[in-house]
Symmetry: C2
């Protein structure tokens, strides 16, 4: 009931909601409401109670939590179930573990702090407490395994849409990075459990730099956070919920029409197309121009001699 | 030390091994040996102790266990680590869980009883206590994901080699079944954890019917056990160790040369090639003849109109 109560308070804010209204909506007694309000206050929520007006939640007081994210979801199709931890080695590993234990599609693991986060090819990705967004989403799409990389591209489009709505000029660096001002603000990590002929589970990991004020020396020039750009703190609750809301719609479209339905949006958001790039491909460094992306998400590079290369995966350097 | 002691006793049998020899090989005291022997006896091993001769293990008394299998391994490359349970829902799920927790290549899960075993496409596969062999092997091959199905075909070759050595005329039904007299004696289940562009972990599951005396009504005509064929009980310890020994060598060859190195052996063992078969392919039933397998493990079927179909996965029916 606490989660539903929090939702009502959030929906009502910045207005008061009466105790009577809460009782009716949650089908419970005044005393029960009063007890839950007291518990929420203990957890750090600032809630004003005024006779004849009711309860008012001070929105700025809402800590980042599973309840808070859940209250902002307007999803109707994917039954998101949020599992929030204050600290985890890796949301990705936790989600994989849950998948092995039979967790359902729509299970979302979020951690306030990530101590051993992973990026592509086993690279490290850290999320300091109280700053970044570390989220892993469990999906069970009924698609052949060669379509798995497309999920990364679709998620990139969803993320860009959310970031642009709140005013950031973000772009996609193929295949799995989001850049602002040519610096990395977000990485996507797609992993799967599969039979050789069909996907069982996809774990879609998103690591987004939100309120970080500084980065380790090694990545100081190549990484950026949203807060470093617009000089104010952002709500990770709003961003997490925004991403889940946006992705839900995009995921349904993807299942119906595959990546081809996202191709033109992806091209619009791309930081890679029509740029000079280099990429290590079959142990050979290719220098050329990224000219197009296929309906299957394969990047085409034309090298200096005019030869075409289809790149299925790899790290692109943009020149 | 118990495992090493058991290995020494097994290697010596049917001869005695002296307490002195054991002390020297294990670098321990007579008293320590005596204590360990007492423990093994408590666990059900029949061990004779005769003054001036030493200790003799009655081989027939060795229960199916991780120690017993380990003692029969002669592997030198893959550092097999055996995790034995008297009962598990599924060795495959247990191995996946271990993989998520960072288990190494060569981890082997064996269960005496499997209560919720899985086959391909989520089908059930049960292993009754004390009869069958349920084993899952964790591998970390550095190969692209499209090569994953080849591991199933290589494992099938290893299994056939072991079964033929002990006198069974077993054949491979593409892609993952082993048949004797056209009845299923063994199923292989290959699952993986992967990034979209590389395999992290393969879990190779083998379910072999060894000493089953009867099967559920639904599969009574299509399933068989080794014991039902040769009318005597077989040692699951010997078979499990034999499989691991054989597969170790084959796996190394596979990593160097891919499935192509196994193609002619596979053809020799095949129950599928040159047979009339049907298969559901892209929601359409194809009737035709299985004419060949490619170096990549893809089955080619020529249908009644002479059209060729490349089958990457699916259930074949042999007519």
């Amino acid at each position: 009931m606490k989660s539903e109560l929090l939702t009502l308070l959030m929906e009502a804010a910045p207005n008061y909601i009466s105790g009577q209204a809460i009782c009716e909506k949650l089908n419970c007694s005044r005393t029960a409401v009063w007890k839950q309000i007291a518990q929420l206050k203990e957890e750090g929520y600032e809630i004003k109670a005024v006779r004849n007006k009711g309860y008012l939640l001070a929105h700025s007081s809402v800590p980042f939590s599973g309840h808070a994210v859940k209250a902002k979801l307007n999803c109707r199709i994917l039954p998101y179930q949020i599992i929030f931890s204050s600290s985890l080695p890796s949301t990705q590993t936790k989600a994989l573990r849950l998948a092995t234990d039979g967790a359902e599609e729509g299970t979302v693991v979020i951690a306030d702090q990530q101590t051993g986060g992973r990026g592509r090819l086993g690279r490290a990705w850290s999320t300091a407490r109280g700053t970044g967004l570390a989220m892993s989403l469990l999906l069970k799409p009924d698609i052949p395994i060669h379509q798995a990389p497309q999920i990364t591209l679709v998620a990139a489009v969803s993320i860009i849409k959310v970031l642009r709505k709140i005013g950031f000029d973000a772009k996609i660096k193929w295949p799995n990075d989001i850049l602002i001002d040519n610096r990395k603000v977000c990485g996507i990590l797609t992993e799967m459990q599969a039979d050789p002929d069909r996907i069982q589970t996809i774990i879609l990991g998103i690591g987004l730099n939100v309120n970080e004020q500084e980065f380790p020396e090694a990545i100081r020039n190549s990484a950026v956070s949203l807060s470093l750009i617009n000089k104010e703190e952002l709500s990770r609750t709003d961003i997490a919920a925004g991403l889940l809301n946006e992705f839900e719609t995009d995921y349904q479209l993807f299942l119906q029409k595959s990546f081809s339905a996202f191709k033109s949006r992806w091209e619009e958001y791309s930081a890679t197309l029509n740029r000079n790039v280099s990429v290590l491909h079959n142990n050979q460094m290719i220098y050329g121009q990224a000219v197009s992306i296929s309906n299957e998400g394969v990047l085409k590079i034309v090298d200096e001699s005019g030869k075409e290369h289809n790149i299925y995966s790899g790290d692109i350097e943009i020149h």
